[in-house]
Amino acid sequence: MHAIAGETLTMSDDITEKVLDVIAASKRMPREQVTATSTFEELGMDSLSGLNLIFDIESAFDVSVPDEVLERVKSVPQLIENLKLLLAQKAAPPGLPQ
């Protein structure tokens, strides 16, 4: 368990950086203007650009973001948190022996 936690932590930093890269590319804004604490509103996102971002995140991380998860995500930290959960589920699907 400890080893897995350590790996997750390292992976998490990479995830954060990659998410910020994807946001900058998706929103066509300078990378330095995207921070890990921004809300979508602060980034000037509306519902359609939010959908575009999630589509780009799905492509970049090879995950599928369910509608009910999308409804919870209104900021970069929420996006990162939920993405990590999805990636963890993907790595170890629920119900399989840990």
Binding site: D46, S47, L48, L51, F55, D67, L70
Partner: protein, 394 residues
């Protein structure tokens, strides 16, 4: 009038089902939904093209054009109008379609990209083009006047019927066959709607607080329009009267609606018809069942009608026949004409929880007798394009 949709394949079956709140929404059967997040739609059922078309004609017709022809034939037959050779020059056909021959296009792409045939069927273009329905109606009925198709997403049919109405009113033509048709159930197109994340996982619940989105529908509605004087003079069976048309553009966002755009279109329709807000007793709402539309439409209705908004009946028949995109306004025009004729407001079915942001009299779950002198039918499209028709009891 002629109609074909999930509630019935002609007016005699569609209107009683609509009036009585029958559900047209069910599991999609025309294609495999395993890899689509939503499973339900409002499909036309029991439609056998062979009963309507010779194989030589059917070869040229995508499903959306088949619907257009079937509804136009019914409309013309019920109007009693006939065209002698040469008379068709004073008649128009104006149809609405959002996406034209989707299933033909989808099959062509499957052939090229998936099956690697590297060849497309030669009838792909004539079947796909959005004006195919209008052209086949003109060809079959000998109508040689203005014939064209309007594509403004979910407002297509209302824009089409509004233009046809204005052409008849201005005397540009003596008669018009007008409405909309759509057949959007193709895998690629349903996936594109999935990506918008506004299709409900279960059903369409307009104005209900627990609404989760729209449900795709299909079909066609067609109306035969002529001046009241001409219709009376030949002793026609007159079903209803269109008195006004209004349109506007939000000039805002490509998918998010405004309040002012729809409100402006409703005001224009009232003004065009010489109607006061108090003349309206029923609004057939755009009422898609999405969070955004129903909230904004409520605000727009309140903005136009002020205190009279609380005396109006408002319902969304999309809860029954689904959202038929470019045919939506035509199905709803049929419902609105029949509501005025029978003095009965069709319900908004699937309604469960009142929403303070949609606090209109939305005629939940059961149709209701009402004294209605005038009615509006709203269509508001992606792209911010709004088109509203005003009707009056005859």
């Amino acid at each position: 009038m002629g109609v074909i949709c999930a509630l019935g394949n002609d007016l005699a079956s569609m209107w009683p089902a609509c009036r009585d709140g029958h559900p047209g929404i069910a599991a999609i059967t025309s294609l495999d939904t395993t890899n689509i997040r939503y499973k339900n739609g409002a499909e036309v059922r029991g439609f056998d093209p062979a009963q309507h078309f010779q194989p030589t004609q059917a070869d040229f017709l995508d499903r959306f054009a088949q619907f257009a022809l079937v509804a136009a034939r019914e409309a013309l037959a019920s109007s009693g109008l006939t065209f002698s050779p040469g008379e068709g020059a004073r008649t128009a056909v104006v149809t609405g379609s959002c996406v034209g021959g989707q299933s033909t296009q989808d099959a062509g792409f499957v052939s090229i990209y998936q099956q690697k045939t590297n060849r497309a069927h030669p009838l792909t273009i004539p079947r796909c083009m959005a004006n195919a329905g209008a052209s086949h109606i003109a060809m079959e009925l000998g109508i040689s006047g203005p014939v064209y198709t309007i594509s403004t997403a979910c407002s297509s049919a209302n824009h089409a019927m509004g233009q046809a109405f204005w052409m008849v009113r201005s005397g540009l033509v003596d008669a018009a066959i007008t409405g909309g048709s759509e057949a959007p159930f193709s895998f690629g197109f349903l996936k594109a709607w999935e990506a918008m994340r506004i299709v409900a996982p279960d059903t369409c619940r307009p104005f209900s607080k627990d609404r989760q989105g729209l449900i795709m529908g299909e079909g066609a509605g067609m109306l035969v329009l002529e001046s009241m004087e001409a219709a009376q003079a030949r002793g026609a069976n007159i079903l209803g009267e269109i008195v006004g048309f209004g349109m506007s553009s939000d000039a805002g966002h490509i998918t998010s609606p405004t309040v002012e755009g729809p409100a402006s279109a409703m005001r224009s329709a009232l003004a065009d018809g010489g109607l006061a807000p108090e003349d309206i007793g029923y609004i057939n709402a755009h009422g898609t069942g999405t969070a955004g539309n129903d909230r904004m439409e409520t605000a727009a209705i309140r903005s136009v009608f002020a205190q009279h908004a609380d005396k109006l009946a408002v319902s969304s028949t999309k809860s029954m026949h689904g959202h038929a995109l470019g045919a939506a306004g035509a199905l709803e025009a049929v419902a609105t004409v029949m509501a005025l004729r029978d003095q009965l407001v069709p319900p908004t079915i699937n309604f469960r929880v009142p929403d303070p942001e949609c606090d209109l009299d939305i005629v939940a779950n059961q149709g209701r007798p009402a004294v209605i002198g005038g009615a509006l039918s709203n269509s508001f499209a992606f792209g911010g394009l709004n088109a509203v028709l005003a009707f009056r009891k005859i």
